[in-house]
Every structure is written in structure tokens, then in C-alpha cells.
Symmetry: C2
Subunit: 500 residues, 2 copies
């Protein structure tokens, strides 16, 4: 059995290397590829994805998994090897349902789709992106079909990012969440509003970069094993345990955008950098799921980065970098401004009270596209109508509306719900961490992020994807994903700020 | 037969895509990879190279080539398909001699080698690089062994870059070249020397970049299908016909380094960008050989970029960017300075009269390493002794001596001779071009680089690697590679400048 286990590990090492290759190629595509390179890159992605898929569904791999099944049952179910075999079998079964031709075609179409989306966003012209998105939705519907029978056509997409979760589960959680969040938003609306005009003047990009890097380093993001670049849409990608990169996007007239995006992506990146080296070149050398991943980006961005304690420590630094803009703004005023609640067009810039509504909007649209009850041509109108229904505002253009996110261009339907779930999990984890580390605010104010990072590494990061996401959440927090801690966090924070 | 031909093209398209993937990964490694990523990247390169090698030596490919042989013989030997089958069969035969394990190991070792070399160069400490280079030389000797019987152990390495060429051919050409170049150097030594001190003051990097990009664009390098970044050692790489990238390296105290490196790499890049789109995703979508490639980089860098006509056009621009440094320097004085002949330590900064001696030094050392008559541990001393013998100077440190070039760290033994051969070919091509375009100097002075680029595209670039290099040189210039035109060019240029 040992020999077969070694064979399995060798296959998985090669498969992981090829997956990382896709990550290198994808990073380059979003960060530095000249636009002219899209066609060549589409071919590269297509061929590479097909190779990866062939390896992931090879008979050799299937036979090894079959042969190792009885052995796996003799192992401690919490052991690395048992978890590896279980996870690999799960991935293998899913991948085997999808023909390689589909994978190759999807890779080509989404590569061209991303370039088209970038151009469409730049020119604020949905029609440039529309035929690409139509093809992508068609392919996603075909993809879902490979997983029949399913409870819901959206399930297979969702489960690519959130193993084990069903559309009905998400709808159930969102159903509880939505009225409560709307209550909070209403309570805030009745109170005197916060002034954040000083955040929207002009902030030199170099100063923004300096501050962002300083915070990321203070958090514990290791620049020797990573780097930060600029891309249209910020993201994190792991090119290996020791090469985890983040990107951001600077707006001179919106100082908070890059700042919080850097904290957000640092959270993702510290998760990946914190994975145990013993998982190197194994498929578990990644986050447990996107919701768990998002719980970390949102924890560092919001629960830490938008806390009073954080700004007690870092506001003097920011004032020093931007004296003209901030010297006369008090800590209290600044803290309130970065937590201002206001319906807004762009998800990544949304406050914590309205953020999840952006996600719910996307979930409804994605489900409608998948059910074919909404056509891509009607998507901009449907977007705007839902924005008005959910947040009472109408985007001035598609750039800040239906074209704002990168996800659909990359075919990542099914991804958005994990952002909202991540918010919920972040609060569950923070609750647990507070019960064990007592004075979190004190640690933040003292810059002892190493203690916080250490706790997260020990309890979450080092495990990578060893455990199923729901199981990991259960192990760490004692319950499955639930909205109560997040709602309690929001209520407490905003009643303090807005006084209700 | 048509069906088999289509099958062959499909296999070659996938193989080319995978090769381009290696180029993406390699570009990233040299330009942006954090140092911590070396181990992960070694694994990626190893697995990817092994996959490429498996594809390049697959039974399916071999059977198709075998089946298509009789058909190829019925084709016009100059047709694209006939050339493709011939070239593919050549590549297949060579690749099939090498075991995949060797390829995987070599990729891993050279990835780690490159990181070690970067560190060794930075710290000026050969001992950091030594064990890596020892392993690399050992692997290169093993590699050569797969090609037994050979005339010379160095032949298989050379032929990776220069199909059809033998070590004896190179030694023969170099044997003719060396005494003539030494004569020119001696004649120059007896004349009043040129002052270039104003080139070595302080030149703002931003201004250097502005000038370099302006020249590259004027030449015809298409930034929509490429980009320029910074790396330790400048290089060009093709990630696809429409994504051909260059790098450079700025030294504030050496304004000419980045300037001529950008022209050099632009020459390489315009070659790749000029390949006919009909060759996309075929192995011929690359230069004919490294010597032909170097002929183009050196043609744009030296025969054009160091000409009086070029500076008549561009010197006023450079003076405008650097008025403090150059306002009081005449065109004549500047032209002489950028053509100053002086024994120097660093190959990439060497003038045209001494450049080939740097290559001859490397060739001798590489041959000695391959013959095992020189040990890696004795390499720095051997380098310094030969520098003294060839150029009469001794490097102040290994940074500017044995550690200066990237090539050995990447395992590229056999590459250097192509630089000198490229010089020879550049003069042959220029001679021919002059006979057809009459007033080349006038075109350069008027900035009509489009006419020059058009001629080169028509006669050389569009063909890619369709023809064997010696055959291409013969077709374009009427003869095989020969030293006379280059020596005539050097004599004329330097007798004008130095008055002998």
C-alpha cells in the first residue's frame, strides 16, 4: 500500500504543479499581458487546462484511488493521508463527469472573455462583452448538465467553490440574513449621516501604496514569498506555498479603495502562506473553500482593518503620509467615515451593512441566467432594476453596474455567494478567537498581529483544504455557518457609530 | 494524407502552446518571481518540461511523421507543409534521444540555479553558485552523451541553438576572425583615444526609459503586442506571435547600457513579432536559429543604433532629455563616445571591436568544461586568466567577471557562439540590404525604419524557422556565414572614427 500511496503522491504533485502553472499564466494575464496576447493566451489556457483535466481524470489516478480505498478506511480519519485520499476521490469524481473538450473550450472562451470584459469596462460598453458572456453562460449551463441529477441547476457551480453546499442552503441563510440587514440599514438611515467627503479628495498613489504595504507587512504578509502588483480587479493567487501574490487598484480620488483591498487580499494571501509545508504539491495546499477564504480576507479587512483599535494604531501614520488631507480630521471622524453606511454602486467599495445585498443581487441574477429565465441581453436592465429594488439607487452606467466585476468574464458563476458566507464565518471565527485570546482590541492597538495570525494559522491556515469547509467551521467555531454572530457584530458596531 | 496532416498540426499546436507556457513561466521567474518562489517554481518547471518532452517524443507524433514521410516527398520542398514536416522530424529525432527524467531534472536544477546565480551575483560570491553550476555541467555532459557518436562533445549543445552547425565550423570561423579583430584593436590602440567620460556621470532612470521606449517604437517594436520590464539580465521572450516581451536593466551611472540593450532586445522582438501569422501554433513560429536571431538584435543595436545617421536623428532628443549632461557635447563627440573601443569586463557593454573576444573566451571555457579539462571550482581563475590573455585586463570581482552572464545558470551552454556568428550575419544582411535599398543612412536619418523593417520582414522575419539557418543566410545573402563583411564594416567604421 505504501508504494501505491507514493505513486498517488507523485501524480498529485505533478497535477498540483500543472495547476500552479495555470495560476502563473492567469496572474500574468490579469496583471501584465499586453492586450494583443489574448488569442495566444486563449490557446495556452485551453491546452493547459485540457492537460490538467486529463491528468485529473486519468485511469491511473482512478485505479490508484480505487486500490487505496480499503487502506484509507483503516487510517485515522483525521490523518493527512486519509484526508488526502478522501479529497482526491471527491475531486476525481467531479472532474470525471466533465469531458476534456469542454474544459479546453471553457478555458479558451473565458480567456477571450476576460480581455473583452476589460475593454468593455474601459469603454463602458456592455455590447463588447455580451457575446462572450452569452457563450460563457451557455457553457456553464452545459457544465451543470454533466452533474445531473441535481437538486438545482446552480448546485454544481456553487460546489466548485463550496464543496457540499447546496443552493437551497444558501437561500436559507440569505433568507434569514436579508431582513435583519435591512433593519440595520433602516435604523442607520433615520440617524444623522456621517461625513466622508475628506476621503474623496485627492490622494497621491505613491502614498497609498506606501501605507498599504506597511499595513500588509504589519499584518504578517511575507513579501519575500509574495508581491503586490496592480490589476483591473484586485485578486490573490497562489503560485506555490512560497509564492503567493496579491494585486490592488489605486484611485487617487478614493483613498480607501486600495487600502482596504490590500488588507483584504493580504488576508487571502496569509491564509495561503500559512499552509503547512507538509502539504506542498498536494491538492490540499489551498484554502478549505472560498467561503472560508473570504472569511479570512474579510476578517483582516473589516473586523480588524475597519476597527477603532486598528485606526488608533495606524491613523497617525496615515495622517503623516497625507497631512494636507487629514491633519485636521480627528480619529473619531476618520473611523466613522471609513464605516459610513450608504447604498453604493460598487460591491468592492460597499460598507459592511449593505455588502451582502450586493451578493444577493448577483445570486438572483446568476440563478436566473442558469435557469434560462433571464437572457444575457436583458442583464444590464435586470441589474439596474434589482439595484433599485435592493438599494434604492440606479447605476449611472454599466461600468459601475453590470460590468464592475471580473468574475463572470472568467466564468466564475457560483462564486459570489461565498463572499457573503465568508462575512458570516469571519464573525463566527472572531467570536471564537476573542474567547481564547481575550483582549483582541488591545492586541490590534499594540500591533501584535503576530498573535492573531498565529492563532489563525494554528486553527485554520496550516490545515489548508485538509478538512471539508463545513467541517472546518464546525471544528473551529463549534457550529456550522450561521448568520447570528455577524448580525450581532453589525448591530453592535453601527449602533455605536450611529447611536441607535 | 490530409487527415494525418491535420492531426499533426493539432499535436504541434498543443506542443507549441505548452512551449509558450514554459515561456510565460520563465518570463515571470526572471522578472517578477519573489525569491522565495524558487523551490515551487523548480517543481513547476520540472513537471511542465517533462510534459512538453513527453508530447514532443510521443509515439503518436512519431507515427504521424513516419506516415507523412512519403507525402512530404511529393511536396514542393519550399512549401510550408514540407518545411514543417522536415523541421518537426528533426526536432522529434533529437528530443527522442533524451530521457524525460533528464529533462525534468535539468529544469529543476536550472530553476534553482538561476535563483542562486542572482543571489551570487548580487553578493559577488561565486561559492553560492558553484554547486549549482557543477550540477548543471554534469547534466550537460550527460545530455551530450545521449547524442553519441558525435564529432565533439560540444556539438549537441551547439546544435540546440544552431541546427546543423559543428564546433569545428565555429572554431574555423573564429580562427579567421580573431587575428583580424586583434589587428583592428591594435590599430586603434596606437591612435588618440576617445573621451566618453560624459556618458558615465548620472542619468535619471526615468529619462533613460523614455528615450529607450521612444527608439523602440520608432524602430517598429509594437507595444500592443509586447512590453518592456526590468530584469537582472535583459532578454526577449515570445509568449506568442502577438505577445513578445523585452526586458532591460538601468544603471544611472551608465546611460548607454539600457539604451543599447533596449535596441538589442527590440531587434529580437521585431523578428518574433514579424513572423507570419500563418505559422501561429507551429514550431516554426520562432527565429531560424540563435545566430540569425542575434544578427537581428545586433543589426538594430549596432549597425543602426551606433551609426552616425541614427544619432543625427536621435541625439537632439537625447540632449533634450538630458540637457545638464549633454547640452555641451557635440554630435561628433557623442557618436565617437558610444563607439569607443576599450577592453572592458562586461560583454553586454563591450564595443563592437572587442565583443567577439568575449565570446571566444566563453567558447574556450565551455569546451573545457564539457571536455572535463576544466573544473567548475577553477572557473573564476580560468576566466580571469583568459580575460588577461585576450583583453589585457583582470576583472575586479566575479560580479563583473565569471558571474556576469545569466546563461550558465539556465544551463545554456552552447549559446554564446551564436552571438559572434550573429555579428557576422548582421553585416552580411546589411550588405545585401544596402544593395537593394540604396540609401540606408538616409532612411535611418529620416526615421524611415518602416522601410528597413519591411525589408527584413519580407526577407527574413516572416519565414520564422521555416528554413534551416545556414540555408536562410544563403538565400538572403548569397553565401553561408562568413567573416569578411563584418570585418570590412569594422575596419571602415573604426578607421573613420580613429583615423587610421
Amino acid at each position: 500500500m505504501n508504494e501505491k500511496l507514493e505513486q498517488l503522491k507523485t501524480l498529485l504533485a505533478e497535477l498540483t504543479d500543472m495547476d500552479r502553472t495555470l495560476a502563473v499564466v492567469g496572474w500574468d494575464q490579469q496583471v501584465y499581458m499586453p492586450r494583443g496576447g489574448a488569442e495566444d493566451r486563449g490557446n495556452i489556457n485551453s491546452t493547459l487546462s485540457a492537460k490538467v483535466h486529463e491528468m485529473a481524470t486519468s485511469k491511473e489516478l482512478g485505479d490508484l484511488l480505487e486500490a487505496l480505498k480499503p487502506y484509507a478506511e483503516t487510517l485515522d480519519p483525521d490523518s493527512d493521508d486519509a484526508c488526502m485520499i478522501k479529497r482526491t476521490a471527491y475531486d476525481y469524481e467531479r472532474a470525471s463527469k466533465v469531458p476534456t473538450e469542454h474544459v479546453a473550450e471553457f478555458a479558451r472562451v473565458t480567456t477571450l472573455g476576460q480581455s473583452a470584459w476589460e475593454e468593455a469596462k474601459e469603454k463602458d460598453d456592455f455590447s463588447i462583452f455580451r457575446p462572450h458572456l452569452e457563450k460563457i453562460v451557455e457553457l456553464r449551463r452545459e457544465y451543470a448538465g454533466f452533474f445531473k441529477p441535481y437538486d438545482h441547476v446552480y448546485d454544481p457551480l456553487l460546489q466548485d467553490f463550496e464543496p457540499g453546499l447546496k443552493t437551497a442552503d444558501v437561500q436559507d441563510v440569505f433568507g434569514k440574513l436579508r431582513p435583519e440587514q435591512i433593519k440595520i440599514i433602516k435604523a442607520i438611515k433615520d440617524r444623522p449621516q456621517v461625513d466622508d467627503s475628506f476621503l474623496k479628495t485627492s490622494y497621491d498613489v505613491k502614498g497609498q501604496e506606501e501605507f498599504g504595504v506597511e499595513v500588509a507587512k504589519a499584518f504578517g504578509y511575507d513579501f519575500n514569498r509574495g508581491r503586490q502588483d496592480v490589476s483591473v480587479h484586485p485578486f490573490t493567487t497562489s503560485l506555490g506555498i512560497d509564492d503567493v501574490r496579491i494585486t490592488t487598484h489605486y484611485y487617487p480620488e478614493h483613498v480607501t479603495t486600495a487600502m482596504f483591498s490590500t488588507m483584504h487580499e493580504s488576508g487571502h494571501a496569509m491564509y495561503e502562506q500559512g499552509i503547512s509545508p507538509s502539504l506542498r504539491r498536494l491538492p490540499q495546499a489551498t484554502g478549505a473553500s472560498m467561503a472560508v477564504h473570504e472569511s479570512q480576507s474579510r476578517l483582516w479587512e473589516n473586523l480588524i482593518g475597519r476597527s477603532k483599535a486598528f485606526w488608533k494604531r495606524f491613523y497617525p501614520r496615515l495622517q503623516k503620509i497625507f497631512p494636507a488631507q487629514l491633519a485636521n480630521v480627528s480619529l473619531e471622524a476618520f473611523y466613522k467615515a471609513v464605516n459610513k453606511v450608504e447604498p453604493s454602486f460598487v460591491r468592492t467599495e460597499a460598507d459592511e451593512a449593505t455588502y451582502n445585498l450586493h451578493i444577493m443581487l448577483r445570486l438572483e441574477l446568476e440563478i436566473a441566467l442558469m435557469e434560462d429565465s433571464l437572457k444575457v441581453k436583458d442583464l444590464p436592465a435586470a441589474w439596474n432594476a434589482r439595484m433599485h429594488e435592493f438599494l434604492g439607487i440606479t447605476p449611472p452606467n454599466d461600468r459601475r453596474g453590470v460590468l464592475q466585476d471580473v468574475h463572470w468574464s472568467g466564468g466564475m458563476l457560483g462564486y459570489f455567494p461565498t463572499y457573503a458566507l465568508g462575512n458570516l464565518v469571519s464573525a463566527q471565527i472572531m467570536e471564537k478567537m476573542k474567547s481564547q485570546l481575550s483582549d483582541i482590541d488591545g492586541l490590534i492597538e499594540d500591533g501584535r498581529f503576530d498573535v492573531i495570525l498565529g492563532w489563525l494559522r494554528e486553527n485554520i491556515y496550516r490545515h489548508g483544504a485538509k478538512f471539508e469547509p463545513q467541517e472546518l467551521v464546525q471544528r473551529v467555531t463549534g457550529t456550522k455557518i450561521r448568520p447570528e454572530p455577524y448580525l450581532a457584530y453589525l448591530s453592535k458596531k453601527y449602533s455605536d457609530i450611529y447611536g441607535f
